[in-house]
Symmetry: C2
Subunit: 368 residues, 2 copies
C-alpha cells in the first residue's frame, strides 16, 4: 500500500481567494482615484450565454458580459450590494468565520444594506462568484446541508483552534460530517486507491460494516441524496489531489442517475464556476440494465419519472459516454425502477459481496 | 470540571434486548409443545387506545389488547410475518449487522416471506416493537436520516472492529454522525454539564466556531430538522446517564416549537415505546416573545402555520408548562415567525454572545 501526500493545496488556495477579492477592490479604488465612476464587468449568466462545453464536460459561460456602473442610476443599488458582498466576504474570510446564504441576507441589516428578499441577496452572491471566479464556499458561505465521509484518509485541519491537528477519517464508524473544517483541510496521507460515493445513509453504513473501505481500499462518501456543493468540491479534490478514481452508486431511477451526473458534470446554475465537477467520475449503478441482469424487485416508473427521462435524453451532459443513452433507453423500455436496497432480496451482504466487485471490475476493465 | 462516568449501560441493554426476543420465541415454542396453536398478545395501537399520560409526559397505550393466533385463518399471515420479523431481528442483533425498514421489506424476499408493500412490512416491525416493548433501533433497524454531535464526550465503541476503542466527540470540528456505532457506544467520560440541541446545520457550525462547547461546557447536537428516533434516544441517554440538562434551540415558528416538543414528549406513533423522550428537556427558543423582545426580522405566518398553531393549542402535550400556551398565543397575536439566523441582523456572533447566555440563564433561574 502506498502513502500519498498532497499538501499545501489549501494554503495556496487561500492566497488566491484573498487575492481575487483584493483585485476586485483595487479595481474600484483605482477607478475612483482616476476620477471615474467605478464599474464592474463580468460574464453574463443569461440563458443564451450558457453553453455546454464537451471539452471541459460542463456548462460554461460564453462571451457576453454585463457591466454594473455606479454612473448608471439603475445600477447603483446592485453595484453597492455587490461591493458590500465583497466586503462582507472579505471579513468572513479574514476572521475565518463561516456563514450561510440565509445569514448573509440577515447580516446585511447590521450594515444598513437592504435586500428586497432572500432571492435578491442570493443573486448578488452569485454575482460575486461570477466577478471573482470563486465559489461562495471559498468565501466561507456554506450550504445548510451536510453529508459525510469515512475511510483511511488522514486530514490536517486549517481552521482556528485545530490548526495542524490531524484526524484519520476512519476514526468514527458512523462517518464524520463534510463541513467547513473538512473541506478546508489539507490531505496528509491515505492508502485508498478509489472513492465510492453512495446516495443513501443505510447503504453507507452497510458498506462500513462490511469493510468495503478495507476490502477495496476505498474512501466512502455519503452524498445523502443530491450532493451539496461542498461535497462535490471535496470529491473533486479527492480525485485530483490523490489521483484516484471516483465511483458513484445511486438508486436505479432518473433521479439517482442525475445525482451521479451533477457530481460528474455539474449544473447550468454553476456555469460560472470550475472545481465543482469531477468529469472522470463514473456512474457505477444501479443501471437499468442491472435491474434486468439481477432480476431486482422494482416499482413502475410514474409519469414524472418518464418525463424526466425524456428531458435527460436531450440534455447535452448525457451525450458523451454512450452508456447514458443506452441506460435511458433501457429505463424507458422496461418502465421500471429499483432502489439500492432491492439487492437485499438476495441477502443483506449480496450488494457488497457480489454486485459491488462486479461493477468496480467492469468499470476498471472498460477504462483500460 | 468534573469527570462523569456511566458505563455498562449498553452491555446490560443488549442482554435485555436478546432476552425480549427469547421470551417471545420461548412463548411460541411452549405453546406448540403443549399442543396449542401459538398466539401472541400485545397492547392495541388503535387510536382509541392511545392516551396522553401527564405523569410520564408522553402518549401511552391503554388496557385494550390484540391477539394474533395461528388458529385463526385471518391471523395466520400476520402471525407468520411477526414470527419472521422476530427471527430476522434476532439474526441482525446476533450478527451485529444493521439495516433499514426498506432493507427489511426487501430482505423478506430472501426468505420467501411476502409483504404486500412497504407499509405492511413497516406495520409488522411496529408490531414487533409493541410485542417486545423494544424499539426497532434496538434490533439494529435504523432510519436513513443522520444527524450529528460535537463536544467533550469520550465514547467507547461496542460495534465489531471498534470494540473498546474510544473517540472524543470534539475530534472533528464539523461534528460526527449519530448512527448505529454512536448510539450503541458506552459513555466513558465528559466535562460537559449541559446539552444544547440545534435545529440547523449553519447554526451548529456557528456554535462550534464560537466555542459554545467550551464557554458553556456543552455537548452540541444537530437535529437537522425533526430529530430522527436514534437522535431522540441519544439525547435521552445524555440526559439520564450524564444527569445533565438538555436545551433545544429551533426556529421561531410552530414547526420549530414542535421539533422541541417531539424531543421532549414524543409522538402518538411511538405510544408503545419508552426511552425516546426527554421530558425534562427545555425549549429555549426562538420563542414568539423573543421575536418581540429582540425585534427580530420576521416573515408573516401563513394559513398552514396558523392552522398548525390551533392544533398545537389543543394538543395534550402542550398543556403542561404554561410557557407553551403563552407562546402559542403570542405567535397568534403577532402573526409573525422568525428563523434562528434572524439574529445575524445584530452581527454573526450576537446569537452566541448575547441571546444564548440570556436564554440559558433565564432557564436556569426558572428551574431553581
Amino acid at each position: 500500500m502506498t502513502q500519498k501526500k498532497s499538501k499545501g493545496v489549501i494554503a495556496e488556495k487561500k492566497n488566491e481567494i484573498m487575492g481575487s477579492l483584493k483585485t476586485l477592490g483595487t479595481q474600484i479604488y483605482d477607478q475612483l482615484d482616476s476620477g471615474n465612476f467605478p464599474t464592474i464587468t463580468m460574464p453574463s449568466r443569461s440563458t443564451e450565454n450558457i453553453h455546454y462545453d464537451p471539452d471541459v464536460r460542463q456548462y460554461i459561460l460564453g462571451d457576453k458580459s454585463v457591466t454594473r456602473s455606479a454612473r448608471n442610476i439603475r445600477h447603483v443599488k446592485p453595484f453597492t450590494q455587490l461591493a458590500w458582498a465583497a466586503m462582507f466576504s472579505n471579513e468572513l474570510t479574514f476572521h475565518r468565520k463561516t456563514s450561510t446564504l440565509r445569514d448573509v441576507y440577515y447580516s446585511a441589516q447590521a450594515y444598513n444594506m437592504t435586500f428586497k428578499d432572500q432571492q435578491e441577496s442570493n443573486n448578488i452572491i452569485t454575482d460575486l462568484e461570477t466577478a471573482t471566479g470563486r465559489s461562495r464556499e471559498d468565501f466561507n458561505i456554506f450550504p445548510e446541508e451536510r453529508s459525510a465521509v469515512f475511510g483511511d484518509l488522514t486530514i490536517e485541519y486549517t481552521v482556528p483552534g485545530y490548526e495542524g491537528k490531524t484526524l484519520n477519517l476512519s476514526s468514527h464508524p458512523d462517518g464524520v460530517l463534510i463541513g467547513p473544517a473538512l473541506t478546508s483541510s489539507e490531505f496528509a496521507s491515505t492508502t485508498a486507491n478509489k472513492v465510492i460515493a453512495i446516495e443513501k445513509g443505510g447503504l453507507f453504513t452497510r458498506f462500513i460494516e462490511e469493510n468495503v473501505h478495507k476490502k477495496h481500499n476505498a474512501i466512502l462518501v455519503l452524498t445523502a441524496g443530491q450532493a451539496p456543493r461542498q461535497t462535490r468540491y471535496f470529491l473533486r479534490r479527492l480525485h485530483d489531489e490523490l489521483k484516484i478514481p471516483v465511483y458513484i452508486f445511486t438508486d436505479g431511477d432518473p433521479w439517482g442517475m442525475h445525482i451521479a451526473m451533477v457530481i460528474i458534470s455539474g449544473s447550468a446554475n454553476a456555469a460560472h464556476l470550475r472545481d465543482l465537477t469531477t468529469p472522470d467520475a463514473v456512474w457505477s449503478g444501479v443501471w437499468a440494465s442491472d435491474i434486468v441482469d439481477y432480476k431486482l424487485p422494482t416499482d413502475p416508473l410514474d409519469d414524472v419519472d418518464i418525463k424526466r427521462l425524456h428531458e435527460l435524453q436531450r440534455d447535452p451532459r448525457y451525450q458523451g459516454d454512450p452508456m447514458w443513452q443506452r441506460e435511458i433507453k433501457m429505463f424507458l423500455k422496461i418502465k421500471r425502477k429499483a432502489e439500492q436496497e432491492a439487492f437485499s432480496r438476495y441477502g443483506l451482504t449480496y450488494i457488497v459481496d457480489e454486485y459491488l466487485p462486479t461493477k468496480l471490475y467492469e468499470k476498471d476493465k472498460k477504462k483500460k
